[in-house]
Subunit: 135 residues, 2 copies
Amino acid sequence: MSHDLNPELSWLDALKWDADGLIPVIAQDAASGRVLMLAWMNREALTETLKCGRVVYWSRSRQRLWEKGEESGHFQEIHSIRADCDGDALLLTVTQQGGVACHTGRESCFFYELTGERWQFADPVIKDPKAIYAK
Amino acid sequence: MSHDLNPELSWLDALKWDADGLIPVIAQDAASGRVLMLAWMNREALTETLKCGRVVYWSRSRQRLWEKGEESGHFQEIHSIRADCDGDALLLTVTQQGGVACHTGRESCFFYELTGERWQFADPVIKDPKAIYAK
């Protein structure tokens, strides 16, 4: 069993950052309860998120801080930040600007559902990605 | 930007397993929408989950397959399995036996809420852990 989060430590030190200094972060829509995405933060991203009230992730593919919505305008405003029992995952409740979290123009990034042994599209595209990223 | 999931591949190969052969998995209560926990699976855990209809994770601390509830009786019955746009995270909707996912006896493992700069207990203990693990 992993060691539990120690709430006596400073809030950043109480979290378990992985070998790359990252922690997985779930974003959930505060109104609908829909799970929107899973992404990653380092200490700086979490500190920035708290400071600006909008979610800032660490992009592993681009290796830089990434304010969600910086290109699309689909910012995520923070409602609450929770940690789990062993301090190695975060759950954010957010208001998703535009109602679209996914770069494919869907509400949630979790739009593939396993049906039989295939991944099937299970959600509609709400906004054409070409319109999102045309700016 | 990461590459998107290719639904033409076999369902297991379409997922992006990390350097340790793992993928992060979110479990969400199918009825309440509450996010219960984040854990990890390898290919075998996911295959077993699908086969037995109950969630089997890979325990990173114990380095073995771990059927959720094997000690506590708090099994998770699968409703749906979703993957995200780039195939590097899973979202399961489940029925949580006993209404308790956390080893601390709480509904969800995400019971610490950031308040000011402290992690505060935000959820009640529903079942005494001593009673859960006494068997």
